[in-house]
């Protein structure tokens, strides 16, 4: 039997990048923008944090690091990087009304390339003499959990053993769920996503809502990349290590029918599926089976996609104008 107290914290750790990405994409999609660039944005968010942290660690090589700066600099760099990606996406799709799918894919190509390029070349470009990017000192700040967590046995391990970004992920998801459903801002945002022409007629600025929602969504998603490098991977950047989590996050949006609250449960479930292959016994001479078990999250996603489309319930539908550019003079 799987040791749940050991398994669940790992599943939660895996789930945080997915949750950030999923929450960000829900907010984006609620404005009618289908941002397929999220995988790229998460890479950019991650690497910008790495660049910031790297610069700060190099600057303080012989001195003490200040906690606020050690967390603040990577965090700001990461947010700024993903904000720029969000602005780029909005400029192309909202202002210039470009095709959202193509723009998103181009952003993913660019973002993943950007991440891998700087991940692979940062040391050479900055002319420093370290062998690998191992930001263990910064990572220590990011993954610091509450000091008394380890004294609380299984309770501490299950609920209190994560770095602060993990809790931010949950808070952001819960707040996003609340804001979308209960506030005027959320109502306006949903109106823009469902029927921009009507929202426009009601005096809601479609362009502003689309820009803000997409940029905020990108910044949230970028934090997923930052969490992955700084906390989950202990500050070690390796190229392509982030993998396909961005795409899974987009799939999760459909799984949780555009509700961030359900997204929390769904992402923990997927986090578990992502590492479940480690817990299925395969035997020493059948390593190939492990590769086959890694297929589970994707098959489950596919099944979920099909099942949600089969049920075809009214409250489980995407925003009606999702993927369509809005042009006021179009009739």
């Amino acid at each position: 039997m799987i040791d749940l107290v050991a398994f669940i914290p790992r599943a939660v750790g895996q789930s945080i990048p997915l949750l950030f990405g999923c929450t960000g994409e829900i907010i984006t999609e609620k404005s009618g923008n289908l941002n397929l660039g999220i995988p790229g944005v998460m890479y950019v968010g991650g690497i910008c944090g790495v660049i910031g942290a790297f610069a700060y660690e190099q600057a303080t090589r012989n001195g003490e690091m200040v906690g606020v700066l050690a967390i603040g600099i990577p965090l700001l760099c990461s947010l700024l990087g993903s904000l720029l990606m969000g602005l780029l996406y909005c400029f192309l799709t909202v202002t210039l009304r470009a095709n959202q799918n193509v723009t998103g894919l181009a952003m993913t190509t660019f973002g993943v390339g950007f991440g891998n390029f700087f991940g692979g070349s940062l040391i050479k470009l900055s002319g420093s003499d370290v062998p690998t990017i191992a930001l263990s000192r910064t990572s220590a700040y990011f993954s610091k959990s509450l000091p008394f967590a380890s004294n609380l046995g299984w309770f501490g391990k299950l609920f209190l053993s994560y770095g602060f970004l993990a809790y931010i992920a949950f808070i952001v998801a819960i707040y996003a769920g609340f804001a979308l459903k209960k506030t005027r801002m959320g109502l306006h945002l949903r109106a823009v996503g469902e029927n921009p022409a009507t929202a426009d007629a009601a005096g809601i600025s479609v362009t502003a809502y689309k820009y803000i929602a997409t940029c905020v969504g990108c910044m949230i998603a970028g934090l997923g990349g930052l969490y992955y490098v700084m906390d989950y991977a202990s500050g070690i950047w390796s190229n392509d290590a982030f993998g396909d989590r961005g795409w899974l996050a987009i799939a999760l949006v459909i799984f949780c029918i555009w509700k961030p609250g359900i997204g929390i449960i769904a992402s923990i479930l997927f986090g578990g599926l992502y590492i479940i292959y480690l817990y299925i016994p395969a035997g020493m001479d059948h390593m190939e089976l492990k590769e086959l078990y890694k297929v589970i999250p994707y098959v489950v996603t596919l099944i979920v996609l099909v099942v949600t489309s089969m049920r075809n319930k009214r409250d489980a539908q995407p925003p009606a104008s999702l993927g369509l550019p809005y042009f006021r003079e179009e009739r």
Binding site: A98, A106, F110, F117, F118, L292, Y298, T301, L305, V306
Partner: protein, 404 residues
């Protein structure tokens, strides 16, 4: 618009149509602008002088006879994938599963080579490889299409998941067939006997290139001159119209995706049987995604696609040369490709829309020059009757759309 506020500086009006010549000019200008930005980025990151950057790019793509052939061959591969995806895009089916369809096709070919190599005569083996890779590719395309046709499942995400399923299945077989045990890779298949290696025409690059040209012409004819092609564009335009016209859109979706997947499977066969003679999970190299953009860049026109594919391959080979010579990471090419794509995506706006400035005069973007201006003059009354001018422009746009 509120009366006390002055009118905004400009507003955006949909263009009726732009002459093909001007369209090409806009795109060329966008590419030129993108190349300049790329050069600046390259100079900043590498410290090379701008001239040697361009020399290095040409060196990377055309530096030797072998490099030219490889550039052409890679262009051909990307072109076939882009062509394969095009029929699906024409019916607004966003197939981003080219990657998985290529991989699973390659797996089909590799399976025949490994399991049946030397056991059956070579022509029969090649035939079986063809059937299995094309068949598996078609199957991989058909599964999401069935879901789409039956339950309207989101095809973008379904095809994407099929990619990862294909990758993991290939990863499974890579370890299952690994040579030697524990190495985690297959190595060159049938290196001594060459069983199942596709024949060479002229040199080892020609076969792929010839096939790509055949597929290009075939796709053009299929989309433009056949009943199937017509049905595809009707379904893409409006499913309702298709239904009134008696076209069963479900059948069209599945049929088109089978063709799409089969062509991708063919690429898998070429990659495994003709070029690499081995299979890895990265054999498709992200080209399934790049091909989406190639197809779109060419506005789904098969012949223009050859140019778009060449542009992308040329730049990525050039970027690879730069990154190798400067000891930088290979992903530099992706950044360059991304920048070029952003510019081309952005320039489409100026082809489809025009800016009308407050003064009432229709200020054209420099490039669109006289031809469009003449047609607009009819709607222009005087500078003072601004409201009328805009109203008329909008009105004529509306009429035009109604006519379509």
């Amino acid at each position: 618009m509120k009366s006390k506020n002055s009118e905004p500086l400009f507003h955006i009006v949909k263009r009726k149509s732009m002459p093909m010549k001007n369209q090409m000019l806009v795109r060329l200008l966008a590419i030129a602008a993108a190349v300049i930005v790329c050069a600046i980025v390259t100079v900043i990151t590498t410290g090379m002088n701008p001239l040697s950057v361009f020399v290095a790019v040409f060196e990377g793509a055309f530096g030797s006879a072998r490099k030219i052939w490889i550039t052409l061959q890679d262009t051909a591969i990307l072109l076939i994938i882009a062509l394969a995806l095009t029929p699906a895009f024409n019916m607004k089916f966003w197939n981003i599963g080219g990657e998985g369809q290529v991989l699973i096709g390659g797996l089909g070919a590799a399976a025949c080579m490994i399991e049946l190599g030397d056991k059956i005569p070579d022509p029969l083996l090649v035939l079986l490889m063809f059937i299995s890779s094309v068949g598996l590719g078609a199957l991989w395309g058909a599964i999401p299409a069935l879901f789409k046709a039956k339950w309207n499942t989101n095809e973008t995400l379904a095809t994407l998941m099929m990619n990862y399923i294909a990758i993991q299945i290939v990863a499974f077989f890579t370890i299952y067939w690994e040579v030697p045990k524990g190495s985690g890779k297959i190595g060159i298949i049938n290196q001594t006997t060459n069983a199942g290696w596709l024949m060479q025409v002229g040199n080892k690059y020609m076969l792929t290139i010839i096939i790509s040209v055949l597929v290009m012409v075939g796709t053009y004819i299929y989309l433009k001159y056949t009943k199937h092609g017509y049905e595809v564009s009707v379904v893409g335009e409006s499913e309702m119209t298709a239904r009134y016209a008696g076209i069963r859109s479900g059948v069209v979706i599945v049929r088109t995706m089978i063709i799409s997947g089969a062509l991708c499977g063919l690429v898998g066969l070429l990659l495994v049987g003709g070029i690499h003679h081995t299979i890895t999970t990265t054999i498709a190299g992200g080209q399934g995604f790049t091909a989406v953009m190639v197809s779109w860049l060419a506005q789904f026109q098969p012949f223009a696609m050859a140019g778009a594919a060449f542009l992308i391959i040329f730049l990525s080979h050039g970027a690879a040369e730069i990154s190798t010579s400067c000891g930088l990471n290979q992903s530099f090419g992706d950044i360059i490709t991304g920048i070029i794509l952003f510019f081309i995506i952005g320039c489409e706006f100026f082809i489809r829309y025009q800016l009308v400035f407050r003064s009432g005069a229709h200020v054209q973007m420099e490039i669109t020059n006289v031809q469009t201006e003449v047609s607009d003059e009819q709607t222009e009354v005087t500078d003072t009757k601004l409201g009328v001018t805009t109203a008329q422009t909008e009105d004529s746009n509306g009429k035009e759309e109604a006519n379509q």
